[in-house]
Symmetry: C2
């Protein structure tokens, strides 16, 4: 077993200086990481492909996205308004007592521990959004490397270390722990210097890490992004008019990345009708045209096979299409259907089946559909497919959607998570352990910071973000008014 004490103490040492790193300097660092990752080029893409059984071209996109999020966070911290500076000026005349001068801003928490996912060895793992957002916040990062792609992680770590050196930062601003044991994750989470945790993966893993963190003498924030079935509601007119188009789109969404996307549409609900039958038929046909691919690793493959078999054997579940997938690690894309009442009475069908599978729930009417939908557990996404007219006629569906999910998608597939300002990748439990945050997009930085208030601090001693003259020119809330 690795001795984690020096690792976390070094991360803390790095924090003592890195927490004060200016936005400009952090931008240079984050851009340098993007450049160094990009410079890894072909060997990185082929290594990731070898370790995941995914095609090389997929990693061209994933690398571009990963470089983009480092640069986007670089831009965010250079601009500087993300610290949410709030200033209430002194009021000598207030009765009965003068009001003091109070100024607050967000500051970094400390060393952040990152557990990456196996399905995106770049975008959601060692150089993923957790790492990028924590480094942007001013927090050193310790990544527990995912055992499914050690060589990819080692290449990435080399690139980040190069960026650290080129930027003259503390060498332990980033560390990769190459100990794949379960115990390693536990001990790193429990270490007193660990100030927060980002996790992407299964419900059982994410919950275990969350529990270790909450049982500490000093509990720490954990953002675990876990499972989701991403329910899709298909309204009648849209099914009548656009069945073919959506069948094609959803067949793609179900099989993309061999179904190993946390936003894959795992459940689709509609009221029984010939149009829904036709849609199911078209979707099965579209799935039949897809090639069979290998999954990431034996653990995921075994889990898919086992949970799928159990679902398909459930009373009332009818297999509509099940591909032939005899080879090692191959995943059979599968479509099944079930009546609403059978879905309700079999709670195991409500849980995520991680792989290229989707379950059609045939509801007897809108009331049954709504009752099923609103009783599902928390979701990363939920999708509503309908014509503009029927969306307006069913406006109350949005009231259900917003209470169960972090993101509501209209007339599009839920796979594909934008790195943007408005992104919410999170949601009510078990989509994530804290629905108040997102793990993707610019606000992912908010997981690793806390506010500190300076009361009557001499101007010279204030951080630049809070100085009277606003030398950084950031947006601030001064006496309740936004101003630069």
């Amino acid at each position: 077993m690795t001795d984690f004490n020096p690792i976390m103490e070094q991360a803390y040492e790095a924090f003592l200086s890195y927490q004060f790193c200016s936005g400009r300097k952090k931008k240079a660092f984050l851009y340098a990481i993007a450049d160094a990752l990009n410079a890894l080029g072909e060997p990185l893409l082929t290594t990731a492909a070898e370790e995941t059984h995914l095609p090389v071209f997929r990693f061209e996109g994933e690398l571009a996205r990963t470089c983009y999020h480092f640069r986007a966070f670089g831009d965010l911290v250079e601009e500087g308004s993300w610290v949410e500076a709030v200033i209430d000026k002194k009021d000598e005349d207030r009765k009965p007592l003068p009001r003091p001068d109070m100024r607050k801003m967000l500051i970094p928490l400390g060393p952040i521990l990152v557990f990456g996912a196996s399905n995106f060895p770049l975008a959601y793992s060692t150089p993923g959004g957790d790492t990028a957002s924590a480094l942007a916040a001013g927090c050193p990062v310790v990544v527990k490397g995912h055992p499914a792609h050690p060589r990819t992680s080692a290449l990435v770590a080399r690139a980040i270390r190069k960026a650290i050196k080129d930027c003259g930062l503390h060498p332990h601003v980033f560390q990769l722990v190459e100990d794949s044991s379960f115990e390693a994750g536990k001990l790193l989470t429990q270490h007193p210097r660990t100030a927060g945790v980002g996790f992407t993966g299964s419900l059982s893993g994410g919950r275990a890490i969350f529990d270790y963190a909450q049982h500490r003498e000093v509990p720490i924030p954990v953002f675990s992004e876990m499972g989701s079935t991403n329910p899709v509601i298909l309204l009648p007119d849209a099914l009548k008019i656009h069945a073919e188009e959506y069948a094609k789109a959803f067949a793609g969404a179900i099989t993309q990345g061999v179904g190993q996307f946390c936003t894959r549409p795992g459940i689709q609900l509609a009221v029984e009708s010939p149009d829904f039958d036709r849609y199911i038929h078209m979707l099965a046909e579209a799935l039949a045209k897809k090639k069979v691919f290998k999954m990431l690793h034996p653990g995921i493959h075994d889990n898919y096979t086992a949970t799928l078999s159990k679902a398909l054997a459930t009373k009332g579940v009818e297999t509509v299409f099940h591909a032939d997938a005899p080879g090692y690690l191959e995943a059979a894309q599968t479509l099944a259907k079930v009546r609403g009442r059978d879905f309700i009475s079999n709670p195991q069908l409500h849980h995520e089946i991680f792989g290229p599978f989707s379950l059609m729930v045939v509801c007897k009417n809108m009331d049954e559909l709504k009752a099923i939908w609103k009783n599902l557990a928390g979701q990363l996404t939920t999708t509503i497919i309908g014509t503009e007219q029927e969306l307006i006629a069913h406006a109350s569906l949005i009231d259900i959607a917003r209470n169960i999910a972090g993101r509501i998608v209209f007339n599009y597939i839920p796979t594909g998570v934008e790195v943007a300002n408005a992104t919410v990748h999170g949601g009510p439990y078990p989509a994530a352990t804290d629905a108040r945050f997102t793990s993707v997009g610019m606000d992912a930085i908010k997981r690793w910071v806390r506010p500190v208030c300076f009361q009557d601090c001499p101007d010279d001693l204030l951080p630049d973000e809070l100085k009277e003259s606003n030398p950084l020119g950031i947006m601030r809330k001064v006496d309740g008014v936004f101003t630069r």
Copy 2:
């Protein structure tokens, strides 16, 4: 034992409508609460005084503050920008895929459970900042009434119910549970409809509630504001020049509310010097001039007596002043001193002693002072007293301060927590269970909300906050730029 199921189901029923209440309507409601509380007048003040053994005039101030925070939250939600609307517009031309339209805002979590404190039966209890901020967010509130002031809580609940009726809101937007058992708190925290918890009180109580919440099948956010010693650093020149003024001010801060303030300065550190000796002498004299008062209830009094006796009996601790307090519930204001090395070796001295007590820590030099300070647990506040020149000479002290506390006070007493935009009342554990939030001030509302993202939602179906035309005229971040 009360049956809590109907209570929490009613709170959830109330949530189904109250979550959509407009900012204008919530403002009318919060103002109506302030008016109704104010209208309770003298009977409320005398009841609170009787139940707490605190003077009536104290409740004039506390009631004014309480009415103020309801109105301030009313103004905040009417203005509306607090929902942090963020919009990334569609980009049809983006390659390789068009960018969808994404719009997010904060929405309420659900029914919030509030555990009030005994030391502020108005400002931090039934009508406290937790209740006001949760109602402002759009969350119904269930208060578990504090057993130390049941009549005050009943009066307050009556006023809030009147405001609910006058405003035509769901009758269960606010409920008071008058079951003082420990089990009641546990069961309410564990109830599936409870979506978040606000707690103000002791470390043991706050941690217990936190643990219940994290052990749920679906963990929920808990903000427990717990203990703090609020360490004060006294620099040499300030002690030389201003000893008398600070001795007077700190004697007031130590004894205010019979020492029953969470921001009371419980530890003061300085380097040994004749000036520090003189300050300690003056502080003792100032404390000796203070009258002895009764504490809130026997539990708090017993705890003060016991923890104080233990501290005073600790090796190296010298009692400087200990008032004569023979009567029932009377608290002896007490001053003690200890050498830095004895403080370090006796960890029990590092914990809060809740009552009119302060411990002077005599350090042999600045290095020892810094080492002691930075190894203290998380704090609500920490204070630095120094002339402007020596603050600049010791600028690195601020680096320590910001890593241990939520609020850093310069040259003033830490008691007195402003209800303002820049307020941070929280801090690293054990000051609070999540340093990323505050329980006082406008941002207290952020504890009870989460973001939801609407992707490609037809404009007519968007909440007003996110509509293209910005009908509410709120500040929004559109494509990365703040705009109304």
